[in-house]
Amino acid sequence: MEEKIIIKNLCKEFYDPQRGIVKAVDNVSFSAYKGEVFGLLGPNGAGKTTTLRMMATLMKPNSGSIQIAGYDTENDPRNVRRSIGYMSSSTALYPRLSPREIITYFAELNDYPKNEIPMRVEKIIRYFGIGDYADTYSEKLSTGMKQITSIARTIVHDPPVLILDEPSSGLDVIVAQKIHNYINDLKNEGKTIIFSSHNMGEVEKICDRIGIINNGKLLTVGTINELRTISSKYYLEEIFIYFVNEFEKRVENAY
């Protein structure tokens, strides 16, 4: 299988006046393959967003390396950006532009072939069912509509790798379901999708493999069945707690 994302020994520290140095990401390594959905599961402040931001070349790691679609984020950030669609944890739409305008602009900004843009935008709008509100200013849209527009904006230039930060947080089940279906479709098109979440059910349902992250450390990586076998637990909540406890035991033993 073709490795689309290779992350090795990734570290990122922040300085916080109250807490001192915060190790937001601590020696994280994993890979993701073509046509795979990889879920980064962790509680608030675990370091998910920081990891994804480093993958999207928004932040530079303190150490370690990231390769996306064969390009290194450090040496070749432009080609990395060309290969990814990144969706931040907020919908991040320009309030006074309509979904159609935003999608068109991002096709242009991502160097999509100019003459194919109108067709591509129409196709995307139809696929995501944005038609009804395609020409409304995005500040007037509901959270769900915004999120769907945001995903449409992320994939309009047809990148091989998608990085989605909590794509379904704050959405009702129907919109969340829709988004899961889109992710599934994109996977079947052969895209590599990495997304973060603290929603166990969602991760269990749509991810091929799961990485559990807590306090900046990647505790384990595997398919849901592998994780079940190792932990001999069935529900993901229990599996999660198992790995957190296991890790703490290991740390205690080390002292």
Binding site: Y15, R53, L58, R81, I84, Y86, R96, L97, Y105, L109
Partner: protein, 407 residues
């Protein structure tokens, strides 16, 4: 970059609150300011006290002293006998000497002042009549032929008058208004693009397009510059409209005689084109300062706090140009924004001070380099871009300072 600018600009132009503010501010302020100017002008010319004008005169040749009586007969003209009428500026001055046996008049007046002009009509009549009687006397006395004499012998000299005063006043009011309106709109736009985009997290998505980080941020500068210029243009049109509609009407009401003011002195191609270039430069500088300031804030609220002291400083800077006594000097040339505003003032009042303009340009150039080399890199820091500037930036600066110290 072009696409980004178009995207930013579209979002900005559709911001109605911003647009209303940009248009409303001058609508409220311009009439106020013009009211102020007219009051100022009226006081200066003393029009509002009475419709009387002093006539300062000196009759050098005692033989013509009976002219006094005919002058005194002119209604509303107050004759004041003085040794040096030529030094009096707020009235009409008259010096009477003798030339070829006949009176020679030297009249000093402000030809652009309609009140002076209208009284001059009456004065001229009397002077000519007096000349005629003297001529008749001379002819009967000496039996001269009429053809040998010039019938008319008044030499009038124009003194610096209303036109010059208005040119002076407008030459600072126009740049001042344009600069202030540009500053206010640029400040608002900067907060929107600098802090608003961090707040909405839209910067985060534009930074993942296959372009340079630098280009993404520079696009913001240019968008703000363009917005500032558009605002400046709208303001300029409003300004001219106000001048034509309100100012002229006001003047008409007080009969201050500005109706025949030659607007071509100020609104001409040279001035307009130079103003345009200066305003672009000012918009550029102010954007540079404001986008940088707002860039360090991750919320609109904080952005406003960051920008407002700069707005205050930069708005009051051009006020310096209102003070007529201030001469162009090196300190003004060194101050960004002020130097361009001042140069603009000089150019509009036809005072081409090449040395000062060259200094202003040179220092502006230095400022751009300083900003680009030392401030801009901070804006590209990820903490600033992603909105954590308050924690890490100070530390970064400390680290950098530490490195310099070691060196």
């Amino acid at each position: 970059m072009k696409i980004l600018i178009s995207l930013y600009l579209k979002d900005l132009l559709r911001n109605k609150m911003l647009g209303i503010m940009v248009i409303l501010v001058p609508i409220i302020f311009y009439p106020l300011i013009y009211w102020g100017i007219t009051q100022f002008l009226m006081v200066k010319s003393g029009f509002e006290e009475s419709r009387k004008v002093n006539l300062y005169y000196r009759i050098v040749d005692p033989g013509f002293s009976d002219l006094k009586d005919s002058i005194a007969a002119i209604r509303s003209l107050v004759p004041v006998e003085t040794a040096e009428p030529e030094t009096e500026k707020n009235g009409i001055s008259l010096i009477v000497t003798r030339l070829n046996e006949l009176p020679r008049y030297e009249v000093l007046l402000d030809s652009s002042n309609a009140v002076h002009k209208s009284f001059y009509g009456g004065l001229e009549e009397k002077l000519t009549a007096y000349y005629q009687t003297e001529l008749e006397k001379l002819m009967t006395d000496k039996n001269y032929q009429k053809e040998y004499f010039r019938v008319y012998n008044i030499e009038s000299v124009n003194i610096e008058g209303q036109n010059e005063i208005i040119t002076k006043i407008l030459s600072f009011i126009i740049p001042l208004m344009a600069v202030i309106s540009i500053i206010s709109s640029v400040a608002a736009a900067s907060v929107e693009l600098g802090s608003g985009h961090s707040e909405d997290k839209t910067t985060e998505t534009t930074l993942t397009i296959p372009a340079d980080r630098k280009d993404v941020i520079l696009s913001k500068f240019f968008t703000v510059v363009i917005y500032g210029m558009l605002a400046g243009l709208v303001n300029f049109i409003l300004l001219v409209t106000m001048i034509i509609v309100i100012f002229k009407n006001m003047i008409g009401q007080v009969e201050a005689g500005l109706a025949d003011f030659d607007w071509g002195l100020i609104i001409n191609f040279k001035n307009l084109s130079i103003s345009f270039v200066s305003l672009v430069l000012i918009a550029f500088f102010v954007s540079l300062i404001f986008v940088t300031a707002a860039g360090f804030a991750s919320k609109r609220k904080d952005g406003n706090i960051m920008v407002s002291p700069f707005t205050a400083i930069i708005t009051y800077l051009p006020l310096v140009i209102v003070i007529p006594a201030i001469e162009p000097n090196i300190l003004i040339a060194m101050t960004p924004v002020l130097n361009i505003a001042f140069a603009l003032k000089l150019i509009i009042s036809n005072d081409l001070n090449i040395a000062f303009i060259a200094e202003a340009v040179a220092f502006s150039f230095i400022w751009v380099i300083v900003m680009y080399r030392f401030l801009f890199p901070f804006l590209l820091e990820e903490e600033v871009l992603l909105g954590y500037s308050n924690t890490s930036l100070i530390r970064k600066i400390k680290i950098k300072m530490g490195k310099w110290k070691k060196k």
